[in-house]
């Protein structure tokens, strides 16, 4: 199992994502200006502030040459995980529905939250039990998930709402407490909280590992 972690100017959490993915497989960094996916089985678009988050979070990064490759990879069914800024990039790129708007509290907020696994059948959550609560940190200023209501209904019906904030824990004002969604085909997943920062009891919790383990299972190359 080989993960590729994208690196844009201004990315922050790429080393953390690499460390986390490295616990279940091999993980390499992919430079935004290159076009070679280096034979990776799954791609992670990491958190941070690509291009300073200027204009709109994710708006500029989405056009990088490497993202063009990732878009093609995703259209071919490749596994793509977007975390925080990566989620924003995937929405901007049209790989995921919806958009992420400024938190209703208007502040960057960093908090440990519980995520409820709504869809345990995706390639990103198959190591989780239905309804399982994962303790994972969230830290962002623009994490309010938005999509039109009819689209949200359709997404719910199709199992595209993958994780929600546990009741009372959604600080950003997301529609229907949504923390992460997948595309219709189920091979692209984005979420605002940071599973890569929950892979070691020493620094918090280990619940986030489940996401990476699920991906390894899905790719059929788990080294766990």
């Amino acid at each position: 199992m080989k993960f590729g972690v994208l690196q844009f100017p201004g990315s922050c959490d790429e080393a953390d994502a690499q460390l986390a993915a490295g616990r279940v497989g091999e993980a390499v960094l992919l430079w935004h200006r290159d076009r070679d996916l280096a034979g990776c089985d799954a791609i992670i678009v990491p958190g941070g502030f690509s291009y300073g988050d200027y204009l709109r979070a994710g708006a500029i990064a989405r056009f990088s040459p490497m993202m063009e490759e990732v878009i093609a990879f995703a259209r071919d069914g490749g596994l793509v995980l977007g975390i925080c800024n990566g989620f924003q990039v995937l929405c901007e790129a049209g790989l995921l529905p919806g958009a992420l708007l400024q938190n209703t509290n208007r502040r960057f907020t960093s908090r440990q939250v519980h995520l409820e696994v709504v869809s345990p059948d995706t390639p990103f959550t198959r190591a989780c039990a239905p309804g399982e609560l994962l303790s994972v940190p969230a830290k962002h200023g623009s994490g309010r998930y938005y999509a039109p209501d009819d689209q949200l209904d359709a997404m719910e019906a199709a199992g595209q709402i993958v994780v929600r904030y546990a009741p009372g824990e959604c600080f950003n004002g997301s529609a229907r407490d949504i923390a992460g969604v997948c595309n219709e085909a189920g091979n692209v997943f984005g979420l605002m909280p940071h599973p890569e920062h929950a892979v070691d009891a020493l620094t918090g919790s280990t619940d986030g590992l489940r996401i990476f383990e699920s991906m390894a299972l899905a790719a059929g190359g788990a080294h766990v």
Binding site: L55, I60, F63, S64
Partner: protein, 91 residues
């Protein structure tokens, strides 16, 4: 103080807030540098500011609102545009 009573007619007002000349505009710089890679050439001098639109029953307050709240006079300039009467009227 902006204490005058409104005329009962709501005015639509637009405020343009820009980074002052000479003040660094990191967003503008980043967008300008990104454009060529997206296939847009010949774009220069990109400046990014804020657009504020509101309805007010006494448009004479807006200048003071800009100075006190809407713009940060240390780093931003503002421009007020009166857009005419709003569709509704004030209560």
């Amino acid at each position: 103080m902006a204490g005058t009573l409104g005329s009962g007619v709501l005015m639509r007002v637009r405020v343009l807030v820009r980074p002052k000349a000479g003040i660094l505009d990191p967003q503008g710089v980043a967008v300008e540098q990104a454009l060529p890679a997206l296939g847009f050439s010949g774009v220069t001098d990109v400046r990014i500011g804020r657009l504020i639109e509101l309805e007010v029953d006494d448009a004479s307050q807006v200048e003071e609102m800009c100075r006190k709240l809407l713009a940060n006079p240390l780093v931003e300039d503002y421009e007020v545009q009166l857009l005419g009467e709003a569709s509704g009227t004030a209560a």
